[in-house]
């Protein structure tokens, strides 16, 4: 399986994605740093952030930005690694090899998942670290510093949340495969972001702990359906 994953990265020039993820991480760090210390989110008249200051710590900001960015990023990768492979018929070539179809699809999904997970974890760690580092100098942040970089639970939470977010991109993949469209996958990822961060009346999905759990379970079911469809259906 590791060899298959490695071949997927080789075929799609993973260095290109490393570069793009690097740029994205840099922008996210800069954006969060600027919001926390340079006041780019502050109202010019009041001098405080335009957004719900009393309910949002810096971690909410970082989580929202990084999760959104990498959910879309991983959906775009799924579009290239899997949906485009169906469209340009390279999947037909893959299925002519002496390898189980399920294994081929799992390797493609894992190639995207592993890369996106590492990239998201890196993004989060760098964002939190630079904010923590910046606070040593500025001694003030526009958003409350609500993270404890020394607590092991913080890292456990970070890992679980990152894993869940990247899993959710399988829902976007599912819609992309069903509709045979890369655009459908990417648009689905935007809709998922809205679903994860939105409100219905006074109920906020962002604060709802069950929402990511439900979405992760649904995404794993959808991933399984994608694999079973590939194994069974004509290509």
């Amino acid at each position: 399986m590791l060899k298959l994953i490695h071949l997927e990265w080789k075929k799609y020039h993973i260095t290109k994605y490393i570069r793009n993820a690097g740029i994205l991480i840099f922008i996210l760090i800069l954006f969060n740093f600027a919001m926390a210390f340079w006041g780019i989110a502050n109202d010019p008249e009041t001098g405080i952030p335009d957004i719900a200051f009393d309910t949002m710590g810096i971690s909410t900001n970082i989580e929202f930005c990084t999760n959104t960015a990498f959910l879309i990023f991983s959906s775009a990768m799924h579009a290239v690694f899997i949906i485009s492979a169906y469209k340009d018929k390279t999947m037909e070539l893959m299925f002519s090899y002496p390898i189980h179809r399920k294994k081929i699809l799992v390797s493609k999904m894992l190639a995207v998942w592993i890369f996106s997970f590492i990239a998201l974890m890196t993004a989060k760690l760098f964002c939190y670290s630079t904010i923590g580092f910046g606070f040593q100098f500025y001694h003030y942040s526009a958003f409350p510093i609500d993270m404890d970089l020394t607590a092991p639970l913080f890292y456990l939470g970070l890992t679980l949340k990152s894993a869940a977010v990247i899993c959710i991109s399988f829902i976007a993949l599912f819609f992309g495969i069903i509709m045979k469209s890369s655009k459908a996958a990417i648009i689905s990822s935007f809709l998922l972001v809205i679903l994860m961060q939105g409100n219905i009346g006074s109920v906020s999905f962002r604060d709802n702990l069950m929402m990511p759990v439900i979405l992760t379970i649904v995404s794993l079911i959808f991933a399984l359906i994608c694999i079973l469809r590939a194994a069974k259906n004509d290509i």
Partner: protein
């Protein structure tokens, strides 16, 4: 009989339409099998079922004496194929595409990639990205990939597409060489009948998803394919002489006035002398043999007529 590939009552139905119907085909070890049929006859569909890309609705496929099932992935290792048009990772070079193929096939042989590229005259373009290849180059790279792992059965769907006449001849020679020197069995579909005629040992004619005829090319001669062509301004008189004086009944008058004599026991000289003696003017008299094209058209037209009759 030692068949490398055998299909038994192979049928594929898509959306209620029978694409391939009750197909029985037999490819012997070490032969080139020409798969003929008009567009939409079901050639590619059959090849997709053989290469396990499609699952048959009913019937079975025997490969190397073993029944091919959806999970018979190990059989793919013994086959090389190029179905419809060759697809590649366009951002990779030709050489990298072939190396990747070796990795997936689990085939490791030193210099095999270089040798395959050289055989197909692609050494000069080996480092070029495939997106910059011409159609003919892609076709040759597709064949290079199909033969790379020295398969026992090579399945090629219209391999001459996009090739110039010199390229086509080169591919024909290569395929003959693979067959004769390496004992590779080849199943090749083509709409170029002259190409198949010079290449194949056996042909299978598919029409509307049904196998019309499966015959060794050398046996076609025995199916009234060799005849004497006679052109005379007085067809009626000529046919009278043939029947009454030469006692030939096995002949046919074509729409253009040409008489085709299928009787094998009578010689050209005998016909010429008799017709001259009876005062029949001869404009043309020569021995001819039907091309594969004639045979193909005859078989498919007969089927067409049968279908029209049933309707």
């Amino acid at each position: 009989m030692n068949y490398v590939l055998e299909t038994r009552h192979l049928t594929k139905i898509i959306d209620g339409k029978e694409i391939v119907s009750n197909l029985n085909m037999h490819v012997k070890k070490g032969e080139i099998y020409g798969f003929l049929g008009p567009n939409g006859a079901g050639k590619t569909s059959t090849m997709k079922m053989i290469t396990n890309l499609w699952t048959p609705t009913s019937g079975s496929i025997q490969l190397f004496g073993e029944e091919s099932l959806q999970t018979s992935y190990h059989l793919s290792k013994r086959m090389g194929s190029m179905i419809e048009f060759p697809v590649f990772y366009k951002e990779l070079s030709g050489e990298d595409n072939l190396k990747l193929h070796c990795e997936y096939m689990g085939y490791y042989s030193p210099n095999c990639v270089e040798e395959a590229l050289e055989l197909l005259n692609l050494t000069h373009a080996s480092k070029q990205k495939v997106k910059n290849y011409s159609l003919g180059m892609k076709q040759r790279l597709g064949i290079a990939r199909a033969i790379l792992s020295k398969p026992e059965l090579l399945i090629l769907d219209e391999p001459s597409n996009g090739l110039d006449p010199a390229g086509m001849k080169q591919i024909r020679d290569l395929l003959k060489m693979f067959c004769h020197e390496y004992g590779i069995s080849i199943l090749i579909s083509s709409h170029l009948l002259t190409e198949v005629e010079t290449l194949a040992d056996t042909i299978g004619i598919l029409h509307h998803g049904r196998m019309q005829n499966e015959i060794a090319l050398r046996d076609i001669a025995d199916h009234q394919m060799i005849y004497i062509k006679l052109i005379s301004p007085n067809t009626t008189h000529a046919s009278y002489v043939l029947t009454e004086k030469l006692h030939i009944t096995n002949f046919k008058i074509m729409d253009n006035g040409e008489i085709r004599i299928y009787e094998k026991s009578v010689s050209l000289e005998e016909i010429s002398n008799t017709l001259s003696a009876q005062g029949v003017c001869i404009q043309e008299l020569k021995k001819k043999s039907d091309t594969l094209e004639d045979y193909f058209l005859k078989v498919t037209r007969e089927e067409q007529k049968k279908e029209e009759y049933v309707c």
